[in-house]
């Protein structure tokens, strides 16, 4: 009857907000740090 919402791959016990790492509606897990585009200092854009 309904889904076990704890199995949707979201860290619902997190004290902080979850939206900054939300992987999207079809992602089975939150974003990893390497998945999140970040406004790093332009000097870091080595490539």
């Amino acid at each position: 009857l309904g889904q076990d919402l704890k199995t949707l791959g979201m860290n619902l016990n997190s004290v902080e907000s979850v939206y900054p790492n939300f992987g999207g509606p079809f992602a089975e897990m939150p974003c990893r740090p390497q998945d999140i585009d970040y406004h790093v200092p332009s000097e870091y854009l080595i490539n």
């Binding site: 990893r32 390497q34 970040y38 790093v40 000097e43 870091y44």
Partner: protein
Amino acid sequence: PLGPAPLQREHQFQLQMLEAAYYHLPHPSDSEKLRAYLPRNPYPLPHYYPQQTLIPHSDTVEFFQRLATESLFFVFYYMEGTKAQYLAAKALKKQSWRFHTKYMMWFQRHEEPKVINEEFEQGTYIYFDYEKWGQRKKEGFTFEYKYLE
């Protein structure tokens, strides 16, 4: 007690289009800037590999500070433009590495510099050479502060 309601024609069309779209699903990388290295590339791994364990709090500087220095350099150079690169840089700075914006390499004092003034400091440094992928020692190096991030 409502029971099923027959789908109206427009809903049948919508369902048909949704079902077709199901075969062209968005990919996580569609919402991310192009990755020069390490693009997301789903790969069938053996089931016994850790599939989804995201280490809790792995997006904190504290977590990155526990990584080996070489790992931080890997993250910094191979995950450019992401939060991981930003966290790796912060962790490196906490270990007294300094980023040289001209050579685009990380330097660490090997000993107290022989000369320090307003413009620069001079002495022996360890630096990480990302082309040769290894730490090197450099004596008599002048670190001009205008290149200090």
